[in-house]
């Protein structure tokens, strides 16, 4: 994990001196253009970085860099920008001797493929959002799933959920927090792992 979001030797992250785009605008742009790329970004990072446990950190670093750059002006081609940022980040990590090499030669090709692909996650999500969500929910721990369903489907309050499940409100909160995190991770990883044998 790099502490500083700024990196001095890459074009992916421009230094900000007084944001020119409002926070609300950047937030909305980020949610609309960048977050839907998560499945593809995860695939790209997993494919090009051997240490899988680093991948969530790398992803969050890419997000922070892209967000920061967007404060200076929203990139015109978000997908290309995200993947260029990811690629630069990986290359920098290697240069800095921070562990593991990128799998030789695969990165550039993979980058092009990823950046050109029409976005399986978007088409799939648009068409099958509900099924997609249900499939993701099925992979959650049962109690976290139940809390989410009681909240979203039945619209119950925390107290009502606690009563229904026979647990404390504090535990309901824990299940919800855990459930949101796990769900977002699953949704971001879906279409899920397709791996080489």
């Amino acid at each position: 994990m790099v502490d500083k979001v700024d990196s001095n030797n890459e074009g992916a992250s421009k230094r900000t001196s007084g944001a020119r785009v409002s926070t609300a605008e950047v937030d909305a742009w980020f949610a609309r253009e960048v977050l839907p790329l998560e499945a593809m970004l995860m695939q790209f990072l997993q494919q090009n970085w051997r240490n899988a446990s680093d991948v969530p950190d790398l992803r969050q670093d890419v997000y922070a860099r892209v967000y920061q750059a967007a404060c200076d002006g929203l990139p015109e081609r978000p997908k290309q920008y995200v993947f260029a940022t990811a690629r630069n980040l990986l290359i920098n990590r290697v240069r800095q001797g921070q562990v593991v090499p990128i799998e030789a030669a695969s990165d550039l090709e993979a980058l092009e493929i990823a950046a050109d692909a029409p976005g399986p996650e978007q088409t799939a999500i648009a068409r099958d959002e509900l099924r997609h969500l249900q499939a993701a929910l099925d992979r959650l721990p049962p109690r976290a799933r139940q809390v989410i369903l009681l909240r979203r489907v039945e619209g119950l309050s925390r107290a009502q959920i606690a009563q229904r499940m026979g647990i404390t409100e504090g535990t309901v909160s824990q299940h919800l927090e855990h459930g949101i995190r796990a769900l977002v991770e699953i949704l971001g990883g879906d279409p899920p792992s397709v791996r080489r044998s």
Partner: protein, 318 residues
């Protein structure tokens, strides 16, 4: 995930939970904003979870059940209640539906789905029969028997010991003893029966053939043909995955690419063709049926395979 990323995400989830449960006021809002302004890593972690959480608003759609489990007393128009057709599914009923209550139906009705189709039949007693892609099923006039002519069907049967539900398929009879099970015609004369709940008996019905019979329990999968019957036990979860088609999904667990493609091909006219050199690649994942293009794109992105689209064919090579 590093400890730092983990604790940032924890904190982000806490703010979202507080907002969600109304544990929120001016002070909380300011504290949250201050935290967000502290670091872009905080902000992006928060945005990511918040956006994902918003997506679950769609779950409210589940408030309306897909089809009602009808009880005869409350559904005077039984014929209309009989068939609840899932979206994007065509049902071809060979017999015209009449206003006559089906329980006294004069003859068998034939239901079929085209390639890629899927449908749910709701019977008067609350039993359900779901037909998968490319399936033909004849429902007996008493509604307690069915013949699977081809394809695959899932049965969720209300048990009635005096009047058990019977499924005929490929020279075999499956008698429900209170169950949920699926029946699939694998090839002509070959049959696969998977039992998720309850019990069912399977036996062959051909005259002169050597009798074989078995009582299936949850997790049992029976492969039956004219020559015999083989029962294997699998985790129930595996069987439930195998009927993910009920939700329009296929679930692969360490399945070879060749088998995964064959599974996809059941649902679409456009067929995936896999180069034998890569047929052994292992696939994990949950995919929507009827969407081989997306699956092919994922193969291209994730495995770097080459995809060539021709009329009605998607060729996958290394």
């Amino acid at each position: 995930m590093s400890e730092k990323t983990n604790s940032i995400e924890e904190e982000a989830a806490r703010w979202i939970r507080r907002k969600e449960f109304g544990d929120w006021n001016e002070t909380a809002m300011r504290a949250c904003e201050a935290w967000l302004d502290q670091s872009l890593l905080h902000r992006v972690a928060y945005l990511r979870l918040e956006e994902g959480w918003k997506r679950t608003e769609r779950l409210a759609a589940l408030r309306e059940p897909e089809f009602r489990r009808s009880s005869p007393a409350r559904s005077p128009r039984r014929w209309n209640g009989l068939l609840r057709v899932a979206a994007a599914v065509t049902v071809v009923a060979a017999m015209a539906l009449t206003a006559q209550p089906y329980i006294f139906g004069a003859s068998d009705d034939v239901y079929s789905t085209p390639v890629g189709g899927r449908t749910v039949l709701t019977l008067y007693d609350g039993s359900h029969v779901e037909l998968n892609t490319d399936t033909v099923l004849r429902l007996g006039k008493n509604r307690r028997s069915a013949t699977l002519v081809k394809g695959e069907a899932f049965f969720d049967i209300k048990h009635d010991s005096k009047n058990p539900f019977v499924v005929m398929a490929s020279g075999h009879r499956i008698t429900d003893l209170g169950t949920r099970f699926s029946v699939r015609g694998v090839a002509p004369g070959q049959l696969e029966v998977a039992l998720m709940e309850g019990k069912a008996r399977i036996e062959n019905t051909e005259d002169g053939a050597r009798q074989h019979t078995a009582v299936l329990k949850p997790g049992d999968v029976a492969f039956a043909s004219a020559s015999g019957l083989k029962v294997t036990r699998k985790p129930v979860e595996t069987l439930v995955n195998a009927v993910s088609w009920r939700n329009g999904m296929v679930v692969f667990r360490h399945m070879s690419l060749a088998d995964a493609a064959a599974e996809f091909n059941r649902y679409t006219q456009t067929k995936l063709v896999v180069d034998p050199a890569i047929a052994h690649l292992a696939i994990d994942g949950t995919f929507a049926t009827g969407n081989p293009e997306t699956f092919a794109r994922i193969l291209r992105v994730a495995l770097g395979l080459k995809i060539e689209t021709r009329a009605q064919q998607i060729i996958i090579t290394r």
